[in-house]
Amino acid sequence: MDWSVEPYGPRAWLVRFGRDLSEETMARALAVARELETKPPEGLREFTMGFGSVLLESEGDEEAAARWGRRVLPGMIENWQSLDLETTAARTVEIPVVYDGEDLAEVSRLTGLGAGEVIARHSGRDYRVWLLGFAPGFPYLGVLDAVLHLPRRDTPRPRVAAGSVAIAGGQTGIYPAASAGGWHVIGRTPAKLFDPDAPDPFMLRPGDTVRFLGVGANDV
């Protein structure tokens, strides 16, 4: 496994540790995130996870950041090489979905599957939360059944409703708030993925297992 470190401006670094969306890359990302969460290194202002990558932002001015990059960063990455990758899911969260999304017919057409089969394949397996990103509490979930892998919509929708369950590439996700979006919307959930007023504002955490339960429109 190749690790690479690149500066991202004078006070941040992007560390890459996997370009494929494999279970191993995910396990490594979860291990790195857990390490940073439980043992925040001195001088680190903030970290952000990507797929097989992590962004590290240093505190202080450019000079202090340069020092951090020389003295702290290399040892930290060295330690990450030997992290324990054994990851058992923290929690399993069941999320009810009404499969009546505006792109369901289109997904059905593009995949050549009946709508019922699309639903069965989407709800028929457990997903792991790879990371939260794009919008507060938006979970990138994987891995989707290969038959359902589709590129993003050519033209993003200007507005996707809050609670929309959507797919793109090897992933599925849930829009916590209404926003523009380029994924194919196949359903909706009443689950609140992000509630800034709640003691814990985020319903899901990286590493959680998610199970979608198909329900009728009258059940939500």
């Binding site: 004078p10 990507g50 797929f51 990558s53 990371l131 990103g133 919008a135 507060p136 938006f138 504002p201």
Partner: protein, 281 residues
């Protein structure tokens, strides 16, 4: 609480903003905060506030307010009607029209003693797309903590506005994470083009037009994105990621702009031009 201004119309956009919300990016929460820290800071200085006090941020033009009670109001940043760089007493019943766009994009309103705005995850900065508060709308009443007519300090009067908001700017760029993956020709075209700021601009990003920059052939998995990153979309168009931009994304980032360059780009109105200067080698 003192009811000071009533929103008649928010125009192109009116939101509460402060320094933003650091520390939440790994949950997908963008940094947020004022698009032009310098102008927001000036509004607060004119009002006699701490620089980090929450302000009202107005975008482009069109916002209108009615004054509910006499008080001091500081305006800074873009020129849309009421003169920026000025703190003055506004009268009960007076109407403030930010409807004549002259320069810049973002203007800031501050009141002595500070506005009373809801705080979410440690910040008053609003990002509707992120589910963080809501933008101001007609009928909203903006209140402040102290009597705006009796700020407890003697206003210095009009302070000449030092900042200017040119329609053509040049900014220095830092190499972005995919810098070396762009061809020499693509980088040359990026720096050789005077980019026009399109009308597709908001707190998430500013789309530029003027040339097509061929993106690197390899697609990449989504990775973290810093505000200030210039992403090249699939169609070869640059988008400057702004304060409310997504925390991760799959477009390659050719360059990164620091906060000062980013705030200057934010203040270039549609039709204005931005030229990027290559990183110092």
């Amino acid at each position: 609480m003192f009811e000071f201004l009533e929103v008649i119309s928010p125009g192109c956009g009116a939101t509460w903003q402060d320094a933003g919300r650091p520390g939440w990016k790994r949950f997908g929460v963008p940094p947020g905060g004022w698009m032009d820290a310098q102008a927001a800071g000036e509004a607060n200085r004119l009002a006699g506030n701490a620089e980090e006090a929450v302000v009202v941020e107005l975008a482009l033009q069109g916002a209108r307010f009615r004054v509910r009670r006499e008080g001091w109001l500081a305006v800074a940043g873009a020129a849309m009607g009421p003169a920026p760089g000025v703190v003055r007493k506004v009268a009960h019943g007076e109407e403030l029209d930010f409807t004549r766009h002259e320069a810049g994009v973002y203007a800031y309103l501050a009141v002595p003693g500070g506005w009373s705005a809801p705080v979410i995850l440690g910040s008053a900065s609003v990002s509707e797309r992120s589910g963080l508060g809501r933008a101001l709308a007609g009928g909203d009443v903006l209140s402040c903590h102290h009597d705006p007519a009796r700020p407890g300090w003697r206003p210095a009067g009009d302070a000449p506005c030092a900042a200017t908001y040119p329609r053509k700017i040049q900014v220095r760029a830092w190499p972005g994470p995919q810098w070396t993956e762009f061809s020499i020709a693509a980088r040359g075209a990026f720096f050789g083009t005077p980019w026009t700021v399109s009308s597709q601009l908001d707190r998430m990003g500013v789309r530029l037009t003027g040339a097509v920059i061929p993106p690197p052939p390899a697609t990449m998995p989504s990775e973290p994105v810093l505000a200030g990153s210039v992403q090249i979309t699939g169609g070869g168009q640059p988008v400057v990621t702004m304060r409310d931009g997504p925390t991760v994304g799959g477009y390659p980032k050719i360059v990164w702009l620091d906060d000062e360059a980013c705030r200057r780009v934010a203040q270039v109105p549609p039709g204005g031009t931005v030229e990027f200067l290559p990183p110092d080698e």
